[in-house]
């Protein structure tokens, strides 16, 4: 029986990573290593204003005083920052004004990833900002959105074209001193997306950014800033992939969201960075700081994430609930298979009155995967009648993987109601056999069970992506139970 289980577990590797190809394209890279000159070089390549260079240098000086955090339940080999290339850009005009200016090889790359950049070919109702290595390749539907006053462009363009907005909001949610990886990002960030929804506007399409790491030995450090002005609404989606390489690659992003009074932001992620091979070789180290502030009353920020990729994931999308009656939500499915490790969760900081937060975390571990939920619910003294509900479930496939839960609860207001529920279950051989006996193969049985388990979270994704996410879950667990 054990042998059969081994055999089936070995078949896990048949779940091939489909996005592991490399694009051959001329790339502008700077020498590896990190110092003030490198930062000045990045800033000048991007033709940045003085204030942004100053911000980067301030962050870098602070970062040099910091140490890599050790509290996460992760085993990470030492990262040698002097060996990393901090800027790599496909050689082409930054922000090409039309599609004919974009290198056809880049277009082919995104086509192959299922992200056509020709607007007429694209899924209706989705605007895309495509980022490869350190720069944004192309943003679709910009003009259509601009008619409604919506700004959706690469971060670099926003710095040039909307400097006051960027200066006002940059680092207002994640300061340059926030944590080791956020400080590093603030010093060297390359590109990312910028989005502004004006007062009272409901963004008519999904906005999405697709991140692709291509060059080797390169880190990707993108920065995303999303501002929803009073009474506006936007749904935003982020996807990502990388080539299969034997060495680990660093990805350290920062995402900041600001929701003004009555605004609502839905931020969804389908994270599919290369997870490494079945022996745990290679894969992306994913250290991400994502935080939103419900700045005004009655505002709402909702994070949904489906995490299937990366060798290591360190990520806690959080909400600062400052406005009265504001709402924060976190829905997460995190899969770890083979030797993947994930330490992920959220922080809900209740500051305003009647603030509400909901946390639904579903961890799935298979192979030798290690999956940790880490969450903080903090209710400050003035947060009258705050409410939180947390549900943390773990599903185990096989007996070599692990699931861990680290909930932290700090309540300074006696009127608060904070509830936490946790369950751990295992897909049993008897469940699989029951399905087999009805004619359902083991692969399909796992798919059924896992998708049933994750349904509550998947349902929060925009329709088109929910289907993708379901397939992804099944592929990433292919053959992992006997």
């Amino acid at each position: 029986m054990e042998k059969d289980q081994d055999k089936v577990l070995d078949e896990v590797t048949s779940g091939e990573y489909k996005y592991g190809f490399v694009t051959e394209i001329e790339t502008d890279v700077i020498p590896a290593g990190l110092n003030e000159d490198v930062i000045r070089l990045i800033s000048s390549k991007k033709e940045e204003p003085e204030w942004l260079l100053e911000f980067r240098l301030k962050a870098f000086r602070h970062w040099q005083t910091m140490k890599m955090p050790q509290w996460a339940n992760l085993k990470i080999p030492e990262i040698r920052y002097q060996d990393i290339i901090f800027y790599a850009a496909p050689k082409q005009k930054i922000a090409p004004s039309s599609l004919s200016d974009v290198d056809p090889e880049l277009l082919r790359t995104f086509d192959k990833l299922g992200i056509p950049l020709e607007e007429q070919k694209h899924l209706t109702g989705v605007a895309v900002d495509a980022v490869m290595d350190s720069i944004s390749v192309k943003t679709t539907f910009r003009e259509t959105l601009a008619e409604m006053g919506i700004i959706f462009c690469s971060f670099s363009e926003a710095v040039k074209e909307h400097p006051t907005l960027v200066q006002k909001y940059l680092a207002s949610v994640v300061p340059h001193t926030d944590n080791f990886f956020a400080s590093l990002n603030s010093a060297v960030f390359s590109d990312g997306s910028f989005c502004y929804i004006p007062k009272g506007v409901r963004c008519p399409m999904e906005l999405s950014t697709y991140f692709r790491i291509n060059a080797s030995n390169t880190g990707q450090f993108e920065r995303t800033l999303l501002i929803a002005d009073e009474g506006s609404y936007v749904s935003y989606l982020e996807g990502c992939t990388a080539p299969m390489r034997d060495e680990n690659q660093l990805h350290a992003a920062v995402v900041e969201i600001i929701a003004e009074r009555g605004a609502e932001v839905k931020y969804s992620t389908v994270q599919n960075w290369y997870p490494g091979d079945k022996e745990g070789k290679g894969g992306i180290f994913n250290f991400v700081t994502k935080r939103g502030i419900c700045k005004g009353d009655d505002s709402k920020i909702s994070w949904t994430q489906v995490e299937t990729g990366s060798a290591v994931t360190w990520k806690y999308p959080s909400c600062i609930l400052r406005g009265d009656n504001s709402t924060g939500e976190f829905y997460s499915v995190a899969v770890t298979n083979n030797y993947q490790q994930a330490d992920t969760g959220t922080k809900m900081i209740h500051i305003g009155k009647n603030t509400r937060s909901t946390i639904v975390s579903k961890g799935i571990s298979a192979g030798h995967g290690q999956n940790s939920y880490r969450g903080l619910v903090k209710v400050l003294r003035k947060a009258e009648s705050a409410r939180n509900f947390s549900q943390c479930d773990s599903l185990l496939l096989g007996d070599r993987c692990g699931a861990h839960t680290f909930p932290y609860i700090e309540v300074d207001n006696p009127s608060a109601i904070v509830e936490h529920e946790a369950t751990t279950s295992r897909i049993g051989e008897d469940q699989i056999f029951y399905c087999n006996q009805r004619g359902i193969s083991t692969e399909d049985a796992i798919g059924l069970i896992v998708n049933g388990y994750a349904r509550e979270v998947i349902n929060k994704l925009p329709m088109e992506f929910a289907v993708e996410a379901q397939k992804l879950l099944q592929i990433s667990l292919e053959g992992s139970v006997g």
Partner: protein, 265 residues
């Protein structure tokens, strides 16, 4: 040469954890026949069902099993199911998060694919669900839930027969389907089985009591004792067992085992 048996088991020996449970069991079932298997607790009835459905806990060490003339033991559990072998589990399994609808739709379409048929349309599928639900008088509230999750013992058994109705097997193995059912439910479920059966559907009923056999009337009754079929007869055997218990069978079996060993000497 045409083989007119649906299922043919010859000299089957099977072990669990190196302990021999089935010790040379033979049984032949023709299309349309109903066989009842009775026998004391632990005699190997459910183990036989496991072997026939390909559950890995039991290892076959000897003997052959053919289904429609094909070697059954070479087939994967799902292939056996798609070929028309259905087991109503003695202890049905709960699968939280998987809706009955999704589960049944997947099962039916896998079976259809195996037979070269197109998947059922949503409306045709729902029509069948409705029709079969009525057949076993199962509550819609149950089929709207996750597979067996939180079902009572009797509800689980009803749900097994509902699934049998949906899948229309060639050979149904009913492992103590009567246990846990109240008197009304027993009648409904047993009549349900009779309505589901086509003239060539074969059934192996594993039970401890005559009450189920009042409804599902067997052509043959077998007594499984210590891994072997020690006695086979018509329906009257079940009545006799109900009256007399297994003691006399036990004695007979021991005597015959002894004479067999002395014969070996």
């Amino acid at each position: 040469m045409k083989n007119d048996f649906l299922l043919q088991i010859k000299e089957l020996k099977a072990s669990i954890d190196n302990k021999e449970i089935l010790k040379g069991l033979s049984l032949e079932v023709k299309p349309g026949e109903i066989h009842a298997i009775m026998g004391p607790n632990g005699s190997g009835k459910s183990t036989l069902a496991s072997v026939l459905t390909g559950r890995e806990i039991a290892t076959v060490t000897h003997g052959t099993v053919t289904f429609e003339g094909r070697n059954l033991l070479e087939m994967s559990p799902e292939e056996r199911a798609r070929e028309g072998i259905f087991l109503s589990f003695q202890y049905p399994i709960e699968i939280p998060g998987v809706s009955m609808v999704n589960f049944m739709k997947t099962a039916i379409n896998e079976q259809r694919k195996h037979r070269g048929l197109e998947p059922l349309t949503a409306s045709e599928f729902l029509r069948q669900m409705r029709e079969k639900k009525e057949l076993v008088e199962i509550d819609s509230a149950l089929t709207n839930r996750s597979v067996n999750e939180g079902f009572s013992g009797g509800e689980k058994k009803k749900n097994e027969i509902f699934q049998m109705a949906m899948l229309e097997p060639r050979l149904a193995l009913l492992d103590e389907t009567d246990s846990g059912l109240d008197i009304d439910a027993l009648r409904i479920v047993a009549n349900g089985v009779n309505k589901i059966r086509r003239p060539d559907t074969s059934v192996i009923v594993i039970t401890h009591y005559q009450r189920l056999l009042d409804y599902i009337v067997p052509d043959h009754v077998h007594v499984l004792y210590d891994g072997r079929i020690v006695r086979s007869a018509g329906p009257e055997l079940a009545l006799e067992l109900e009256e007399r218990g297994y003691d006399w069978i036990r004695k007979e079996a021991e005597v015959s085992a002894e004479s067999w060993t002395t014969g070996q000497k």
